[in-house]
Symmetry: C2
Amino acid sequence: MEKDEMTQEMEHYQRIVRAFLYYRIHSLKRVNQARRCFTSLSKEDQQLAPKFTTKLDLIKMAIGVNYDFIRTILQRTQNLFLNSEIYQMDEVISSVYIKLTYLISTVPEFDMEKVKSTIKQFVRDWSKEGEKERNTCYLPIINEILRLFPRDDIQPNAINILVPGAGLGRLAFEIVKLGYNCQGNEISLYMLITSNFILNNCTTTEQYVIYPWVHQYCNIAGFDDQVRNIKIPDMAPSEIPKDTSFSMCAGDFLLVYNDPGKKWDCVATCFFIDTAHSIIAYIKKIYQILKPGGYWINLGPLLYHFADMAGEQSLELSYEEVKTVIENVGFSYEKEEKGIVSGYTQDPSSLMTTLYHNIFFIVRKPEIDQQQ
Amino acid sequence: MEKDEMTQEMEHYQRIVRAFLYYRIHSLKRVNQARRCFTSLSKEDQQLAPKFTTKLDLIKMAIGVNYDFIRTILQRTQNLFLNSEIYQMDEVISSVYIKLTYLISTVPEFDMEKVKSTIKQFVRDWSKEGEKERNTCYLPIINEILRLFPRDDIQPNAINILVPGAGLGRLAFEIVKLGYNCQGNEISLYMLITSNFILNNCTTTEQYVIYPWVHQYCNIAGFDDQVRNIKIPDMAPSEIPKDTSFSMCAGDFLLVYNDPGKKWDCVATCFFIDTAHSIIAYIKKIYQILKPGGYWINLGPLLYHFADMAGEQSLELSYEEVKTVIENVGFSYEKEEKGIVSGYTQDPSSLMTTLYHNIFFIVRKPEIDQQQ
């Protein structure tokens, strides 16, 4: 790695750590804003909602608990990355702490949204409350893996499955638990730091308590909904069968899979393909890294992560166009199901629900590749 | 009206007209951005999605049709407002046209979102495609009005019903069609200009064609979904019974209803109460303007329009807290139903759906008011 690249990576890492550390100040600012709005009302109006400030005190307490959890995650992040000598976490944390008051204005709102969505990701991947969402999104993929690579006929640990966009690692973990080899790939340091923590440091179920919904001030039904907690993980991630290989690979999916000698039996993508600048590049890459006869299983919507983001390339295709690209690249459709309805880190008690009508498909690379 | 106030109002009006007129340029910029992204791909990648630029041409055509419709609306807006002498639309349009090239940078993204959501509002209020959404949101309110003020026992045109947040006027129109007197109140000039057009200028059904979904580039299933059109109105708004009074009142709900001599039999709010800076102020105002024994019927979520909007006061109460305020103000609950699920200007073909679990209630002001 070049020195410049190392410096850049270090700066990026520090930016993420800074965002995590800024969580408490940022979230309390929002509470204080709500308090200021309330106390600016007339005394008469305030008396009409007498428990409002009590709720804000509870929110403050919940933010404190989330922050302690974030600190625990950061403390376990030492030596996580290849060039660990530059990631002396204690030093980073201390230096960041010292500088924090100067740096507050440099933590963009965008980064804080990432921190808050990382907290919600725990619910999706590692809580009892997330089970319904997981069953809708991960089970169809897992069932197809079991059908395509039946464990009665095939040694599962002879099968190599790649999960790009692995997030907090639950889908990859479930695949490994069945005995297959699995690698998760993830670009987001928020996710990598957090999945490292959950996969390598959580030894018992319900070890931690977090308040994932505490930042939602709108569409709340009852007083307690905003300040209810969840316990994580629902399952200790240490239960992995022997003789399987489980790894996480950090980096951009398009850049890190370039070894022509390493091909996959199966690529499983869940809420991933619309994170590309060009979905065409993703589709071609998946084709390229699969073995002849290999399968690509996909479930998710077409939200397009970079759509309308200033200065970012974003190619938005309809599903019909995506399908054309998939077929033109050389894949053949084995299965297609539309309208599998699921949320994504959805608060089940919110008065507002965002649902995705997911596209689910299995496509196959030909045994004899015409194009290679 | 003070001169300064008149100038301010004129400037506000011109801002809205400017946003409407900027629609075409703004929307075509987005198309060109998509085209640039596509043509920056390699020739090989472009050939994998061969119909992409054809779709963009169709989108351009659809934007042109929408723009012609906007121009028609603006041309019918002359003499709409009280002080019509300052609203010489032709002059405004001409002067705005001349200045438009200089003014482009002054039309904020926020205003353009309003223009695009106004177009979608037509689907909700005045199209066949919006019928399902209307039945979920408006029918429960209308049925309760018929139950509370039965037309066999009461002269309906002796009953005065107010609809704050009237939008494009369909709910108010439906109430008037049943013979009740109804006034819609609306603060948004986007809505006022457009509801004036639909209520006073549309004489036949399906008179106009618009492309409401043309600005959604994400979560599209099929090639044609983004460029499909709808016809409006589904019903000619001229069919109003004689001897009823139907009016629209422009302005801030908290400021315009101050006549102590004018009280209402019923206030019907649909997706309105969360548009307040302080929902407490709205609740108190509704109580104040109702006759003793009068009813407030509400359906909608608690999204809170001003939440997290920079520099804006926003009081976000949970429904439980809202209910406490309603009761503390002096209302008594007659009916309450939670979880009436509906969209709001939701594209039914989108792969992403936002649903609201609406709160529906009827509360009553006491016959003998303890507090007055």
